[in-house]
């Protein structure tokens, strides 16, 4: 089987398995799986910047939150329908990524990390400061304002588990397809070149700034799509999702699954989700275990799970 066939078969297979999973999962894990798929879409967006362009951000919660508030506020205040709200969320995240990029991409490496963190914190504090609009860290519920999704004659209510699950799967599949298409395109090759050696890539004819800005815009758009999807599917919008913790999470998920792999974000998000879920049943200091898991990961599997698999056995894995 040729490499591109194998790649296609693997990713379609994973999506098919996720589709079938909903028929066998018990209710509790059913909801978890929907949540994991939305968060994995976020991690996939993060991975475009870190894994395929080599830029580490600690402010990605601002894009997730831009999508979340961009979708949630118009529903809550104006009663806007889900598709339009989703579109506004993505537009908000993409615009924010472009504006942020024009300023922050003058820096790179650790400076970029710090600048991104400052922007992320600024947005987080803004969600608290304007709490008469955003309702701050208390947040708001959108479900009573959200009209069901009309699909032909059927009305799909967002509270129904099957609707939740399949829309989450659709969102994840879209971001998987987007990241895979980007990775396999000529532009993905340039991004990987910038990750490896930016100066070399510039001398091979590529204006690296434009490619980094484009990558950041895609990353911001995917993160915002996940944020908007989260608001609509799980009904809650609050400033917790703009906090630094939600900038650290996608980094952990991507690291655990394997940065610079297409499926890594899904694997990392699922494992970390269940680690936190299991541990927090025992103790409230679950972040301690998350930290220990991260240290072990960096020590023994710095490439993450799929990165290690790729190095050892599956060199064709994108």
């Amino acid at each position: 089987m040729s490499t591109s066939r194998k790649v296609l078969a693997l990713h379609l297979g994973v999506l098919a398995a996720l589709f079938l999973l909903q028929f066998v999962l018990p209710a509790y894990h059913h909801t978890n799986a929907a949540r994991i798929m939305v968060l994995a879409a976020y991690a996939a967006g993060y991975n475009v910047l870190l894994g395929y362009t080599g830029l580490m951000s600690l402010g990605h919660a601002m894009f997730f939150a831009a999508g979340m508030y961009g979708a949630g506020l118009p529903v809550y205040y104006l009663g806007l329908g889900a598709p339009a709200a989703f579109g506004i969320g993505i537009a908000a995240g993409t615009a924010l990524a472009l504006v942020f990029g024009l300023m922050a991409l003058r820096t790179s490496g650790p400076s970029f990390l710090i600048v991104s963190m400052m922007f992320g914190q600024a947005l987080y504090l803004a969600t608290l400061y304007f709490n008469d609009v955003t309702l701050g860290d208390q947040g708001f519920i959108v479900s009573d304002k959200l009209a069901p999704l009309a699909l032909g004659d059927a009305a799909l209510g967002f509270h129904e588990p099957a609707v939740k699950y399949n829309l989450a799967l659709l969102l994840f599949a879209a971001s998987l397809a987007a990241t895979l298409a980007l990775r396999l395109s000529a532009i993905g090759r340039v991004l990987v070149g910038i990750r490896g050696n930016e100066e070399r890539t510039r001398l091979l004819g590529y204006d690296s700034f434009r490619y980094k800005l484009g990558s950041l815009a895609v990353s911001g758009a995917l993160s915002a799509a996940a944020g908007a999807g989260y608001a609509l599917l799980f009904s809650y919008v609050g400033s917790t999702f703009a906090s630094i913790l939600f900038s650290i999470y996608p980094l952990l998920w991507a690291l655990l699954g394997g940065i610079g792999t297409i499926l890594g974000p899904l694997v990392g998000t699922a494992l970390m989700f269940y680690l936190v879920d299991t541990v927090s049943g025992v103790t409230s200091s679950y972040l301690l275990f998350v930290g220990a898991a991260l240290v072990a990961l960096i020590l023994w599997f710095p490439q993450g799970i799929l990165g290690t698999l790729r190095n050892r056995w599956l060199p064709w894995l994108p």
Partner: protein, 248 residues
């Protein structure tokens, strides 16, 4: 002025790093199709000079003319598109990628003109260029090999294949024979001569044997300035050169 306009001319090109003047008012002309060697002791400013020509460093003052056109303000990626291609002194391949991917990056550049082609330049055409470049340097069949698993001599060749895939009109080689074995050096000279049939070659080189064998003209630099210029034989006899460079 020569009868044929030079492909490259620098006019009083200067580069200062803080208090140090690395390149001091260098005016250099390279003729079309020529193989020109630049020699000089370490710290003479050779790499900084070619760095300004390919756009790695911005000049402090002076001008660079390429094909009669002022390119002093052009960015490195714009210069590559005009055919100015630089290979690094320290091997700068993408270590974790295969040879194919290493060469495909410069190979696709020329095909990415226009909006649609930027996304899909056509992998068949890219593959054709990659194959041709790898074959030209003698690395045919190494496509799926990871670059960091190649022997050192092969890594140098891969670097040159990357440059060839970018379709150079002015190829700048920065110490291409450094660290190569004797047999590999002879093969590299042969390769450079073949490349020079289609392009102008500017080569920084320490190995005098290689310089004498390859270059049509030699420019000698010392302390940021041009000390002498001429045919290899003329330069070798030049008393200043013997003092500064050959240590006689």
């Amino acid at each position: 002025m020569a009868a044929v306009a030079p492909i490259l001319a620098t006019q009083s090109l200067t580069r200062r790093f803080g208090g140090l003047t690395a390149v001091d008012a260098v005016s250099l002309e390279v003729g079309r199709g020529e193989i020109r060697a630049i020699i000089g002791p370490n710290g003479a400013g050779k790499t900084t000079l070619v760095g300004m020509i390919c756009g790695r460093h911005e000049p402090s003052s002076g001008r660079i003319l390429y094909d009669g056109r002022d390119i002093t303000r052009l960015r490195p990626w714009q210069r590559l598109r005009l055919g100015i291609v630089y290979t690094f002194q320290v091997t700068s391949i993408y270590r974790g990628l295969t040879c194919y991917e290493n060469v495909a990056l410069p190979a696709q550049r020329g095909l990415m003109q226009g909006f649609a082609a930027r996304f899909a330049p056509g992998e068949a055409k890219v593959a054709e260029r990659v194959r041709a470049a790898l074959e030209a340097v003698g690395l045919a069949g190494f496509e799926v090999q990871r670059a960091d698993e190649l022997a050192y001599g092969h890594q140098r060749l891969l670097e040159i294949a990357m440059a060839l895939a970018a379709e150079p009109r002015l190829l700048i080689l920065d110490e291409p024979t450094q660290g190569l074995a004797e047999g590999e050096i002879a093969a590299l000279c042969e390769l450079v001569r073949r490349i020079a049939r289609a392009a102008t070659v500017l080569v920084i080189e320490h190995n005098m044997q290689v310089v004498l064998e390859l270059a049509e003209r030699v420019t000698v630099m010392d302390a940021g300035a041009i000390l002498a210029e001429g045919t290899p034989a003329e330069v070798e006899r030049h008393p200043d050169v013997q003092r500064a460079y050959l240590g006689r």
